[in-house]
């Protein structure tokens, strides 16, 4: 279970999503009492990230909730905080209004003073940025996410850096600052390419498609948006195959 949990990031990054989910779910179900609660919680978190990468929101919610319950059992504050941020991201990205976002965020904020791990701090800042986004304060969103980016850079977390650059880039698109958006998204894309993180690559190209559209280059925009559509289609087909008996 522990090994599968650690491999979660690899599967997620490299786009081996189905394979990773099968391994993680199998490891969690077979781990039984031999596996520690913490290892199971980590594996469940990994499975949730993979499910989210496939847009399988229902499954992601279920495993993140299970993982959160296990982290609570262990009292691991870093783990609880990370699981809370993941669950909130399901609510926002997956539009799951049945997730009690306000209370989860409140819980995460209470944990904040006890969090030492820079990665978890960075994730909490992303969460705080999401709250600012919900109230329409885009400038504050960028501030918080840039702070998050600084933490990810400090611990040399390339995946976190790519994610922050990408999200700030999309925010700049929303603000109409296409020049800055292009710079951020290209840097993120380079990193995502090095990491072979297919999901981030597609999010970056779709953002760069908007930049191209703003430059009066509709053909270029179409070429950049096209791969994302192909990816969505591929993901939908993969999920159907997974659901088939």
């Amino acid at each position: 279970v522990s090994l599968a949990g650690r491999l979660g990031v690899f599967w997620s990054t490299r786009g081996h999503l189905n394979e990773g989910r099968v391994w993680l779910e199998s490891a969690v179900s077979r781990g039984g009492s031999a596996a520690t609660t913490l290892a199971r919680a980590k594996a469940l978190n990994g499975a949730g990230l993979l499910a989210m990468a496939q847009d399988d929101v229902g499954a992601a919610k279920a495993v993140f909730e299970e993982g959160l319950a296990l982290y609570r059992e262990t009292g691991d504050k870093e783990g609880i905080a990370f699981a809370l941020t993941n669950l909130v991201s399901v609510a926002w990205l997956g539009q799951r209004y049945d997730i009690p976002v306000a209370s989860l965020i409140e819980e995460a904020n209470k944990l904040k003073p006890d969090i030492q791990d820079q990665r978890t701090v960075a994730h909490l800042l992303l969460l705080e940025g999401g709250v600012a986004f919900a109230r329409g304060d885009l400038e504050r969103v960028v501030e918080l996410w840039e702070e998050s980016l600084a933490h990810f850079r400090e611990v040399r977390d390339a995946r976190g850096v790519a994610m922050c650059l990408m999200t700030i880039g999309h925010m700049k698109v929303a603000q109409g600052d296409y020049g800055r958006a292009g710079t951020l998204l290209r840097e993120s894309l380079r990193l995502a390419g090095e990491l072979d993180h297919k999901q981030y690559v597609h999010y970056c190209t779709i953002g760069l498609g908007s930049v191209a559209a703003s430059q009066d280059l509709p053909s270029r925009a179409a070429r950049l948006w096209g791969p994302r559509r192909a990816w969505e289609w591929h993901m939908a087909r993969t999920l159907r195959a997974r659901a088939a008996p």
């Binding site: 509709p218 179409a222 791969p227």
Partner: protein
């Protein structure tokens, strides 16, 4: 979080259907590596883009991309407030854009903007 469907609709409305479909198909068949290379190439174009590039860069109208975006939303009968929410800009900024659109096109009302957009789209098809 960002409404790309709307951006896509606007970009599509700026180009004739065949050129759009060709570019779209080209994008769909790109491998991940090709997509990255193309996205990072900035002004360099793919083979098909080379033929299209000059057409793309010629401003087909006097409006800026943002103004065209807003004109399309006006044609969809959105109010200034709704457009402001859609684009996450202030209502006042939208009002300024609409004023400029009217001035540049020599039109007098939002209805005229709608008619202009519809006519432009029908010519492009």
């Amino acid at each position: 979080m960002i409404d790309y469907e709307r951006r896509l609709t606007v970009a599509r409305s700026q180009q004739d259907e065949a050129a759009w479909a060709a570019a779209w198909a080209e994008g769909r068949t790109m491998t991940l590596e090709q997509a990255i290379e193309y996205a990072l190439s900035e002004e360099k174009s793919s083979p098909l883009a080379s033929a299209q590039a000059s057409e793309d860069k010629e401003p087909s109208e006097a409006l800026t991309p943002r103004e065209r975006e807003i004109a399309v939303l006006v044609a969809q009968e959105l109010t200034n407030r709704q457009i402001a929410e859609e684009l996450t800009i202030s209502e006042r900024t939208v009002t300024t854009h609409v004023y400029r659109i009217l001035n540049k096109l020599g039109l007098r009302s939002r209805t005229h903007i709608s008619a202009w957009i519809l006519e432009k789209q029908s010519h492009e098809r």
